[in-house]
C-alpha cells in the first residue's frame, strides 16, 4: 500500500449526494478478477454524458474528489476504491462517507476525509469557480488547506500511523497469531464448522 503523508492536488467538484458504489463502478466491471484497470469504468454511465464534470478537460489530472453527503453508499465492492485510485484520485472529501466504503478506502490508502457540510461547500465552490484551485491534505496535521480554508478532520492515531507508514492490515494482525490461537482454544465446541472438501 502506498503511504499517505501530505498530498497537494487539484479537486474535481462532484455536486451530488448519495453517490452510490453502483455509480462509482457499475456491476459489469465487477466480473474482472484483476485488481487493476478499473479507472476506465469509474462513473462510466455518467461519463457517457459530455457535460459530466470528469469529462471537463480543465479537471484532467485532478487528484482529490469533493462530493456531496453520503458518498460511497451501497454495495461493499472494493472495486469502487480501486477505480478511484486507478483514475488518479488520492482522497475523497465529503460531509458524510459510507462505512464500508470508508473501510475499503483506508485499506487501500485512498484517504476518506469527512468535513462539515459548509466547509465542503466552500471547497466545492472554489473548485467549480477555478479548476486550478489546489487543496492540500496534510494527514500528519489532520488538516485540509486551500481555497482560504484551514479545516481539521478526524482520524484516529492508529489508522493515521498505518496510512503514513503504508502498512497493510494482514501483516499487522499476524503479529498477534498467538492471541488468535489462544482465542480459538476457548471457543465453544458446538459452534458450527463447515465440512471441508
Amino acid at each position: 500500500m502506498e503511504a499517505f503523508t501530505t498530498h497537494t492536488g487539484r479537486a474535481v467538484p462532484l455536486r451530488r449526494s448519495d453517490v452510490d458504489t453502483d455509480q462509482i463502478i457499475p456491476s459489469d466491471w465487477l466480473k474482472r478478477i484483476e485488481r487493476t484497470g478499473f479507472g476506465a469504468g469509474l462513473f462510466s454511465e455518467w461519463r457517457a454524458d459530455p457535460s459530466f464534470v470528469l469529462n471537463d478537460p480543465r479537471y484532467a489530472g485532478a487528484s482529490i474528489l469533493v462530493a456531496g453527503p453520503d458518498f460511497g453508499t451501497g454495495s461493499s465492492r472494493e472495486h469502487a476504491v480501486w477505480a478511484l485510485q486507478d483514475y488518479g484520485f488520492r482522497a475523497v472529501i465529503s460531509p458524510r462517507i459510507a462505512d464500508i466504503f470508508r473501510g475499503n478506502a483506508l485499506g487501500n490508502g485512498l484517504l476518506p476525509v469527512v468535513l462539515p457540510a459548509e466547509t465542503v461547500e466552500t471547497l466545492m465552490a472554489a473548485a467549480e469557480a477555478d479548476p486550478a484551485t489546489e487543496i492540500t491534505i496534510d494527514l500528519g496535521a489532520r488538516e485540509v488547506r486551500g481555497a482560504g480554508v484551514v479545516a481539521a478532520f478526524e482520524i484516529d492515531d492508529f489508522t493515521r500511523w498505518r496510512l503514513m507508514e503504508g502498512l497493510d492490515d494482514v501483516g499487522l494482525t499476524l503479529r498477534h497469531a498467538d492471541g488468535i490461537a489462544a482465542f480459538e482454544r476457548n471457543r465453544p465446541s458446538w459452534l458450527p464448522r463447515v465440512l471441508t472438501p
Binding site: E78, W190, P192, T196
Partner: protein, 465 residues
C-alpha cells in the same frame, strides 16, 4: 451498566484490545462468493499464506450465474472466468464450494441460514453488504471489502472499531396485509439512507417479535440501505425453532448448552443505546419506492412527491434527479405507474415464504399482457421445496417465468437485466440508477405487491385486486 445484544456479541469476540487501536475481532463464519473474492485469494497466493480456517469458510456461486440453461457453460466469458476462478481458488485453498447445479447452491445469504450455519451470537462476515441478513438470528453480521476478505481468509479475524448502537423500536402490530418489506422500506424512508451510518441497529418491539425468521431476515437484510452495516434482532423461541434440526445446528447436550447461551444474549433492561428511533407499526400500509435510492419511498396509496416541497436542498436535488431518471412526474399516483417487468427473488425476498406469498396472489390469475415476470428462488433448496409444493406450476400457469437460483435481476450481472427505459417492480433491495440494467427503472416492493402488480401491470397492492 447493562449491555446491548450487539455489545455482548462484540465483547465475546475480542481477541485483542489495545488503547487507540481497533479491536481485533474473531470471525465465526466467513461466507464467500465469486465477485469479491478473486483478488483476495490472489493476494494470499502471492504472499504464500493459507486460509487459516477453511472449516469456518463456505463459498457459493450466486451473482453471475445464469438462471436458465444452467447445465450449459456460462455464455458470458468474463462471468465464466470469474466463476472458474472461484472454483480454482476453493480447490487450491480447501474451501467448501456449492457450485451451480449443486443442491446447496444459492444466494450466499440464503445458504447460511438454510444450512443452520447462521446461529445467534456469532460474528459473520462476507464480501457483500447484505450480510446483515444474518443479524436476524442475533448474530453480528456485516459486509466487508475485498482487502478484508483477504484479511479474514488469512487470520480469521478483523480489526474493527466498536460501532455505536441504535434501537429501532417498532411499536404496535403490523396491520393485516403489511409485510416485513413494507416495514423496512418505511423505516429507511423515515431515517434516510445515511440514518444508520456508524451504528449497529437492533430492531425491537412487538411487530419485530411477531415476525417469522424469514420476515426478520428481510428487515435485517436492508439495514445497509439505511446506512447501517449491521442490524440484528434478539434470538427467541422463533429463532430456536427455525434452527432446530438444521444440518449445522447443535444437537443433544450441545443444543441445550447453545440455547442456554443464546438466551443470555438479549439486551439488558438497563442497557443504553446511543440513539433510539420509534416507528408506529399500526400506521403502516404497503410501500413502494419512487426514486433512485431506497430512502425515496412512500405508501403505495400516495403519489410521487413534488421535489419543490422538500426543504433540504440536497434531498431536493436528489429527488429532482431521481424523477428525471425514473421518468416520473410529481403528483402521479403510485398506483398509476405501469411496469414492464416484475422481479420476485433476491436475498431480501427470495425465500420459500416469499414465493408462497406471491404464488397465493397469482393462483388462478393471469399476468397482465406485455408484462414479463421473473420468479427466481434464492437457492436450489428453495427451488426444490417450492416445486414440491407445486408453486412453480402456479407461477407458470399465471404466465410467469420460473427460473433457477441466483442473484439474477437484483443486480443484473447475469443475463437477467432491464433494458434502457424499462421499469420494474422488484422485491430486491436497491433501486439505484442502472442497478438492474443500464437505464432500467426500479420500484422496490414486497413479494405481495410484486405479484399483484404482475396481474394489473400497474403498482398494485393485493387488497386492490
Amino acid at each position: 451498566m447493562g449491555r446491548t445484544l450487539a455489545e455482548k456479541v462484540w465483547d465475546a469476540h475480542v481477541v485483542r484490545r489495545a488503547d487507540n487501536e481497533p479491536d481485533l475481532l474473531y470471525i465465526d463464519l466467513h461466507l464467500v462468493h465469486e465477485v469479491t473474492s478473486p483478488q483476495a485469494f490472489e493476494a494470499l497466493r502471492l504472499a504464500g499464506r493459507p486460509v487459516r480456517r477453511p472449516d469456518l469458510t463456505i463459498a457459493t456461486e450466486d451473482h453471475n450465474v445464469p438462471t436458465t440453461d444452467t447445465l450449459a457453460p456460462i455464455a458470458d466469458p468474463i462471468s465464466r472466468a470469474q466463476v472458474e476462478a472461484l472454483r480454482r481458488n476453493c480447490a487450491d485453498f480447501g474451501v467448501r464450494l456449492h457450485p451451480m447445479n449443486d443442491p446447496g447452491q444459492g444466494i450466499v445469504h440464503i445458504v447460511g441460514p438454510q444450512l443452520g450455519l447462521t446461529q445467534p451470537g456469532m460474528t459473520i462476515v462476507c464480501g457483500d453488504s447484505h450480510t446483515a441478513t444474518h443479524g436476524a438470528f442475533g448474530a453480528l453480521a456485516f459486509g466487508i471489502g475485498t482487502s478484508q476478505v483477504e484479511h479474514v481468509l488469512a487470520t480469521q479475524t478483523l480489526p474493527q472499531r466498536r460501532p455505536k448502537t441504535m434501537a429501532i423500536n417498532v411499536e404496535g402490530a403490523l396491520p393485516a396485509g403489511v409485510t416485513a418489506k413494507d416495514l423496512i422500506l418505511a423505516i429507511i424512508a423515515q431515517i434516510g439512507t445515511g440514518g444508520g451510518q456508524g451504528y449497529v441497529v437492533e430492531y425491537r418491539g412487538e411487530a419485530i417479535r411477531a415476525l417469522s425468521m424469514e420476515g426478520r431476515m428481510t428487515v435485517c437484510n436492508m439495514s445497509i440501505e439505511a446506512g447501517a452495516r449491521a442490524g440484528l434482532i434478539a434470538p427467541d423461541e422463533t429463532t430456536f425453532e427455525f434452527l432446530r434440526g438444521r444440518p449445522h445446528a447443535p444437537t443433544g447436550a450441545d443444543w441445550d448448552a447453545a440455547v442456554a447461551y443464546w438466551r443470555t444474549l438479549a439486551t439488558d433492561e438497563d442497557a443504553v443505546f446511543d440513539r433510539e428511533v420509534s416507528i408506529d407499526a399500526t400506521a403502516l400500509t404497503p410501500f413502494a419506492t419512487w426514486g433512485t435510492n431506497p430512502g425515496q419511498g412512500a405508501p403505495l396509496g400516495s403519489s410521487v412527491p413534488d421535489p419543490a416541497s422538500i426543504a433540504d436542498p440536497n434531498a431536493r436535488a436528489a429527488a429532482e434527479r431521481a424523477l428525471a431518471y425514473m421518468g416520473l412526474a410529481p403528483g402521479t399516483p403510485l398506483r398509476d405507474v405501469t411496469v414492464d417487468t416484475v422481479f420476485i427473488g433476491s436475498c431480501t425476498n427470495g425465500r420459500l415464504s416469499d414465493l408462497r406469498a406471491a404464488a397465493e396472489i397469482l393462483r388462478g390469475r393471469k399476468v397482465a399482457d406485455g408484462v414479463r415476470v421473473l420468479v427466481v428462488p434464492g437457492s436450489m433448496q428453495v427451488k426444490a421445496e417450492a416445486e414440491a409444493e407445486g408453486l412453480d406450476e402456479v407461477f407458470r400457469g399465471a404466465g410467469a417465468e420460473w427460473r433457477s437460483a441466483g442473484c439474477s435481476m437484483c443486480l443484473g450481472m447475469n443475463p437477467d437485466t432491464l433494458r434502457p427505459g424499462e421499469r420494474s417492480a422488484s422485491t430486491s433491495n436497491r433501486n439505484f440508477e442502472g442497478r438492474q440494467g443500464q437505464g432500467g427503472r426500479t420500484h422496490l416492493v414486497s413479494p405481495e405487491v410484486a405479484a399483484a402488480t404482475a396481474v394489473t401491470g400497474r403498482l398494485t397492492a393485493p387488497a386492490d385486486l
